[in-house]
């Protein structure tokens, strides 16, 4: 039987290593040619690794969460015939681009997007069913002892009954204790009288009728995949960028009237407008006057790159976690175009079908938690950008117009800037200009 070694492919962009996020096979599994064996993730992309041969999996070179160097052996497959030859798949860049399916992501921006929905496993493709993700890292039973010592329970018993002597069982029944909840320290996982005493002493009787009970369970979740990328990016952004966050109140009553009118009059093929396309247009207009905020700062090289193009990243919550699809060349798009592109990208990001270029290359980012409420956020800059604009909830508030209180629709804008390259004055000027545009929305559409 021959042996075929699949190595970690070079996924491009000068990447030297990638994280293994998913195995689709295990040792002993038969594999067919083109069957997906594993998924690895780099900074930018999740790459599925297919089998170039038909055979049987002999060896797996990494565990989920391991960082594997490019060209390191990943899988060995036994193949029929071929004598004792050891073949290997030196998947170069050209070969790899044909062989691998790529999905890309950029992780960035507001930590307040992480509302627990995101999985710890970096599963970029929603369709990729993974037992790993469904299986909790710890079995449901067998809580830890106070010392933290793990109890070595026997494998699930086919008799489906906890292993305990009749006297222990009788005590448990009398005490209303479900022995399946008790860890056995005896031979073969047998529950002893001492185990029962300890369980009772700890007060963790799940059968107790009262609703309040101590929960001493702990769960370890390995931070892998997309969650790890998010964590790393957030650390870099907060450790290297001194943030200045500036919050301003914006009267969007007129904008809301305009938006409502445009939505009423829209053509069937046009999308429903939200506030974001208007904000994007306002950003574009402001940037044309104040280009310093539409920039990326390479602090190692000490170079600020100001961009003519306005590629606006839109922080988006997906089942896997936070991703930032990018509306490219917003400066060339009208309000309706921006709206259509937003809808398309959000859907692509949520379903994991966004392309590499749709998930990278932003020059400024918008984060919107408006629908959730909250009066202020402290957005974290999408490194290496220098500015991020956060949208808060629109609320009707009483406003003094000099004569009386009148109800106005008020929205807070919470924006953060890299204080190394954007001074407070410039930040304030930027936001004030946006305010002017949004409060008098006709200005957004006036040329020049």
């Amino acid at each position: 039987m021959g042996e075929f070694t699949i190595k970690m492919p070079d996924v491009g962009e000068g990447v030297a290593e990638a994280e293994l996020v998913e195995w689709h096979c295990k040792v002993g599994d038969p594999v067919r040619e083109d069957m997906i064996l594993a998924a690895v993730m780099t900074d930018k992309a999740t790459v599925e690794i297919p089998s170039p041969v038909t055979g049987t999996v002999l060896w797996l070179g990494a565990e989920i969460g391991d960082i594997v160097a490019v060209k390191a052996p990943l899988v060995r497959i036994g193949i029929a015939g071929e004598g004792g030859d050891t073949l290997s798949d030196e998947a170069g860049e050209g070969g790899a681009s044909d062989a691998v399916t790529t999905t890309e992501t950029v992780t960035a921006s507001s930590p307040s997007f992480q509302r627990g929905e995101g999985g710890s496993q970096g599963r970029m493709r929603g369709a990729v069913g993974s037992e790993q993700a469904k299986t909790p890292p710890h079995p449901p039973f067998g809580p830890l002892l106070p010392s933290g010592e793990k109890v070595n329970r026997a494998a699930p018993d086919a008799l489906a009954k906890p292993l305990a002597s009749p006297a222990v069982r009788l005590r448990a029944q009398d005490g209303g204790i479900d022995l399946r909840q008790v860890s056995g320290t005896g031979p073969a996982g047998r529950i002893t009288h001492d185990d029962l005493d300890l369980f009772i002493a700890r007060g963790s009787q799940p059968a107790a009728p009262a609703g309040l009970a101590r929960n001493t369970s702990v769960e370890e979740i390995k931070v892998t995949g997309l969650r790890r990328r998010i964590a790393e990016k957030m650390s870099i952004a907060t450790s290297r960028i001194p943030h200045i966050t500036y919050v301003e109140e914006i009267d969007v009553s007129d904008l809301e009237d305009l938006r409502a009118a445009m939505n009423r009059a829209r053509k069937p093929e046009q999308p429903k407008l939200t506030i974001l396309p208007f904000l994007m247009r306002a950003l574009v207009k402001t940037i044309s006057e104040q280009p310093g905020v539409n920039a990326t700062f390479d602090d190692n090289a000490g170079i600020i790159t100001r961009h003519g193009a306005v590629h606006i990243g839109i922080a988006t919550q997906t089942p896997a976690g936070l991703t930032v699809p990018v509306v490219r060349h917003a400066e060339s798009r009208g309000v309706w175009d921006c709206a259509s592109e937003l809808i398309r990208l959000a859907e692509a990001a949520r379903t994991g079908t966004a392309l590499r270029e749709e998930l990278s290359g932003s020059t400024i980012t918008i984060t919107s938690l408006g629908a959730m409420g909250g009066i202020v956020t402290t957005p974290i800059i999408n490194h290496p950008e220098v500015a991020i604009v956060g949208v808060n909830k629109i609320m009707t508030r009483p406003v003094w117009d000099g004569v009386q209180f009148i109800p106005r629709k008020i929205m807070n804008l919470s924006s953060s800037f890299d204080h190394r390259v954007v001074d407070g004055w410039d930040a304030a000027s930027f936001v004030q200009r946006i305010r002017t545009l949004l409060e008098t929305p006709a200005l957004i559409f006036i040329e020049g």
């Binding site: 494998a155 009954k161 292993l163 029944q173």
Partner: protein, 465 residues
């Protein structure tokens, strides 16, 4: 007649019912028990106890007869013995009678009210009993159905005349010259063997490929061998068709499809037992069923609130000790204790020659449940006590998990191994590992050493083989 109102009503005073009533009485529950025939049920009157009495008498007789044949290596010689079956049956009836009155005494001691008569449900809380003195109505908060089981009758061989069930076989006035046993299960073989030892020419007709079909071939082999020595003819894969025209023979269809006539003075039909679901008003209750049996949960509750069922009416294994354990549990539940069925095993004994005892999982059952197992087997031919008793056939076998050495099952076949049932069941209930059994000092010289040696064998270090 005045209505009786009580907390617990038990219908049927077999081993399940009377244990339930005694335990309930001990716990201060106001209890009434109804029995249509005799206290003790099938087990005590026409089952376990009388059959064991007859089997013992037959065994003793056969031993002496064997010695009289001049073949005894023990050096004993006796004159040809004679058996007076009527006297044997009378002795057996004496034992049954003593136990009958013993059960009644225990019930009285527990302050259980005993009502004689046939009970019939009016509704889930009310039962009518036809007694000698008229209709007695009993109302109870909880009712336990313990009506037991009865022999299955073959349509082609209805009971009556020469066709008898185990009940009649236990009270025959004389040993039949030619006995044909239809059904090679444990009841047929126990009784067939006893009659063979008492002098009958016995033929066993079994439809399956093997006698004792519920046991594996290794356990059955010593029994088959002994049947051969006793001159019992065993016809497997043969079907009983009916009596011959003159009633003096049983017509069977053999494995090759031919009809054959087996001359018989008596035809003993032992093709199984069925739950007794008729005659007590099951229709009034419309309880959920599991096949022919009543459906129960792990607290022996039926589908009707306050109505429990225990024993043979609730399914296999139809064994007295299962019914007793259920009865005890239900009594405690009715008394307000928290109880649920949590037994790991119900040992079973087959009083053939030699005896078979099993507890827990057989090797095949363990594998079928997905266990990776190791097996240790120790033959009695290497056991000193077995040699001194002239009974070296058989073995002890242990089945354990490979990963933890947890004992999953224990089996034995051999003379007197029924008494190993307690050690077997205790080991499994206690969650013993092979090491527990191997490291327990077993008295020498006894057959029980075979258990220790089997465990050692499974661990790879048997000492005597």
């Amino acid at each position: 007649m005045k209505e009786i109102v009580c907390k617990l009503l038990v219908i049927g005073a077999g081993p399940g019912g009377y244990i339930c009533a005694i335990r309930a009485g001990q716990l201060g529950v106001d209890t009434v028990i109804v029995e249509a025939v005799k206290a003790g049920g099938t087990c005590l009157n026409i089952g376990c106890i009388p059959s064991k009495a007859l089997i013992h008498a037959a065994e003793e007789f056969e031993k002496v007869r064997h010695m009289a044949g001049g073949e005894s290596p023990l050096g004993i010689s006796v004159e040809a013995p004679k058996l007076n079956l009527a006297a044997t049956v009378a002795w057996k009836d004496g034992i049954v009678g003593r136990l009958n009155s013993g059960v009644l005494g225990l019930l009285r001691k527990a302050k259980v009210k005993i009502v004689h008569g046939r009970a019939k449900f009016r509704d889930g809380k009310t039962v009518e009993v036809e007694t000698e003195t008229g209709m007695q109505v009993i109302r109870a908060e909880a009712v336990v159905i313990a009506t037991g089981s009865q022999p299955v009758e073959l349509p082609s061989l209805p009971f009556g005349g020469p066709v008898i069930s185990s009940t009649e076989a236990l009270s025959l006035p004389a040993v039949p010259q030619k006995l044909v046993v239809v059904g090679g299960g444990y009841i047929g073989l126990e009784l067939g063997t006893a009659f063979a030892k008492m002098g009958s020419a016995v033929t066993v007709v079994e439809a399956a490929r093997q006698i004792l079909p519920q046991y594996d071939a290794d356990l059955v082999r010593p029994v088959s061998k002994r049947l051969g020595e006793l001159g019992v003819r065993v016809l497997t894969e043969a079907k009983a068709k009916g009596l011959s025209g003159d009633g003096g023979a049983l017509v069977i269809e053999t494995v090759d499809g031919k009809e054959q006539s087996l001359p018989a003075d008596k035809v003993l039909v032992t093709v199984g037992r069925k739950p007794r679901t008729e005659g007590w008003g099951l229709d009034e209750l419309d309880l959920a069923r599991a096949g022919h049996f009543l459906l129960i949960d792990d607290q022996c509750r039926t589908s009707m609130r306050g109505v429990y069922a225990i024993g043979d009416i609730t399914g296999e294994p139809m064994l007295a000790h299962r019914a007793m354990a259920q009865g005890e549990m239900v009594a405690e539940i009715v008394a307000g204790k928290k109880r649920a069925w949590d037994k790991r095993c119900i040992p079973a004994v087959c009083f053939t020659d030699p005896e078979i005892v099993t507890a827990g999982l057989s090797p095949d059952e363990a594998r079928a449940q997905g266990h990776d197992i190791r097996i240790g087997q120790f033959p009695f031919s290497a056991n000193g006590r077995a040699m001194t008793m002239l009974a070296e056939d058989g073995f002890v076998r242990v089945v354990a998990r490979t990963d933890t050495n947890l004992v999953l099952g224990l089996q034995a076949v051999g003379a007197g191994v029924s008494e190993l049932s307690s050690a077997f069941a205790l080991a499994i209930e206690m969650g013993a590992r092979l090491e527990d059994i191997a490291a327990t000092v077993h008295a020498h010289p006894t057959r029980s050493e075979g258990l220790q040696e089997a465990a050692m064998k499974a661990l790879g270090h048997a000492l005597h083989i």
